[in-house]
Symmetry: C2
Subunit: 342 residues, 2 copies
DNA sequence: CTGAAAGCGCTTACAG
DNA sequence: CTGAAAGCGCTTACAG
């Protein structure tokens, strides 16, 4: 019914706002208002425009809107892994927090790589995001510079920042590492091993906590550490259990830097006929769903992933909107889950 | 050094292509070419523009590019879950397949909901995507209509389409369900239960396979099915094991529609002192990492998630580029992993 | 190989 | 509350 600008050479063929305005018998900019700022327009016009939108099946062009308004409504989220349940739960929290808003969430998987992080950031910056949600506090020099010059609102997730100017939501990874080690010491263990993989910043903070606790108790021994940079998997946990036992045969307890590793270590113990926790105590970190169900159930540290995502997104939105949030450092804490394995 | 159009009221303040061209002493469109179509420009100019880009720290504005070129370079991916490892592996494959291209991947989590799928699609259509990667073959009427009118290239993932015009990459869920059931029958089991959750289309196809195999063997019995629509979790597997045993106490083997459920069922058996597989055989579906390591290790169906994502993305790219792919139906098959639990 | 001009589809001050 | 015009930052035929 409506004469759209079909003749024009470069038209995409899609229904435009102009066509909607035409159909509703109003000016383009009035149609724009009726859609984007409904309360700036009379009820009658709003209805007419809404009807035209429905009848024509109008879909706004986000690129045009972004270009004209200088607002992309894009939020970039960078996580180090998508196969790690920890981060998919963080994403779930972000998604829920931002559900009602019209944000486009751009999810980037850095794969625990600084180079990949830089690359993704470079690409995503082209979308002119309104804000960034980053995992962790440490970034390469070049990324730091990019972030600084971008002037964009940023909220860091997972660990607490020591810089008050840098909003962060998470918990102290090192305190959690300390607490778990202390728990094992209090159980009477002296020879407590630490198994770690990936060696990302969170793992290293947990290692710091472990080392501090061991040192405070006068139990430090480099032989008790098995740390490799390979990705964490159940299979690797099984293998590292073997390495630990070869390296420190008198080991009484093992603190695995995450649950995957702990699960693998426990399965391997079962295959070798090592009773957990009687002969060897094993504990993990993160409290993945299987940890409560395995036999033995796994002693671990419960971490508020979902809430980290939710609160970080909420905080970022506030900052984007120019509000002055009461707190920009949100420590969500952790919970030691004492179960059967240690 | 360069005079940008700072005075203009609505300028974003970011470095523009015009500024780069200025800096390099060429026309804007030449700078555009040097960046987007380097081979259409002389080496000398290319170098000058490249230098200007570096010196000014120019970041292209994707919205402007999309608007002017009528190409968003956006690919929308819709998955039903981000907490299910199956789909994060699919995403990994997609990411790897498209890594070298300049596509922006928009990941949407439909949470197994038709309404959410429609909502996400509505939002993502605003970005004028070049193509869609969808999970599954069935969609609500309204989504079907949206997809049809959009005329966009679409590749369906996970199961095979019966419609040759609809490109799909995956494997036959029903055949896999049939094969696993047949395996249990061949092991000599008669009373074979089926436990399912979520009841998404893949689960229902596996159920079809189960039912067909049972019927072909003359073993059908509705009492042997326990199906609930709650999300699949280990905890639910543990619970449904109990229900199955209450409903069909003579059950000899249980086919769980996925590994999470199977793990929960096995852990529950261990707690109840039911020997697996001696007293009760239990098998799963998908071969999650834990299945190979648990004790007993879990008999299950290995599925090519990563490759599904990889091949689907590769196929979609070909279609977007207007190529005529030799095959638009790519059956990647499945592998029955016979282990200890069944 | 290089350039001047128009246009992509929206929104934003500025008027009325 | 409503509208005419300019502009967002880029790319695309069309010339030369």
């Amino acid at each position: 019914m409506t004469k759209t600008l079909q003749g024009k050479s470069r038209s995409s063929g899609r229904i435009t706002l102009a066509a909607v305005a035409d159909h509703a018998g109003v000016a383009t900019m009035t149609a724009s208002r009726a859609i984007s700022h409904p309360n700036m327009v009379s009820q009658a016009l709003r209805d007419r425009v809404d009807r035209a939108v429905a009848e024509l099946g109008y879909v706004p062009n986000r690129a045009a809107r972004a270009l004209a308004s200088a607002h992309s409504n894009v939020i970039v989220v960078l996580v180090p892994s998508l196969s790690n349940a920890v981060f998919t739960e963080v994403l779930g929290g972000i998604q829920d927090a931002l559900d009602a808003d019209d944000y486009q969430i751009l999810i980037g998987n850095t794969r625990y790589s600084d180079a990949e992080e830089e690359k993704l950031l470079n690409i995503y910056m082209q979308s002119n995001p309104d804000g960034l949600l980053l995992s962790g506090l440490t970034h390469s020099k070049r990324v730091q510079k990019m972030l600084a010059t971008s002037q964009l609102p940023i909220v860091s997730m997972m660990d607490m920042s020591s810089d008050p100017a840098q909003p962060s939501v998470g918990f102290s990874q090192s305190q959690a590492g300390y607490a778990m080690t202390r728990y094992l010491i209090d159980k009477g263990h002296r020879r407590i091993g630490f198994i770690a993989a990936q060696l990302d910043e969170r793992t290293m903070r947990r290692a710091e906590g472990y080392r501090q606790a061991m040192q405070d108790a006068g139990l430090s021994d480099a032989k008790l550490e098995v740390m490799v940079s390979d990705p964490s998997t159940i299979a690797l946990g099984a293998e590292l259990l073997g390495r630990m036992l070869a390296q420190a045969p008198d080991c009484e307890a093992i603190f695995c830097c995450n649950d995957d590793l702990a699960h693998g270590a426990i399965y391997q113990c079962q295959r070798r006929g090592i009773a957990v926790p009687q002969q060897l105590a094993v504990c993990g970190f993160n409290d993945l769903p299987a940890s409560a169900w395995m036999n033995p159930s796994v002693t671990t540290v419960g971490t508020p992933r979902y809430r980290i995502g939710y609160e970080a997104a909420t905080l970022l939105r506030a900052v984007i909107k120019g509000e002055q949030p009461a707190r920009t450092q949100i420590d969500l804490g952790f919970t030691l889950m004492a179960r059967e394995s240690a």
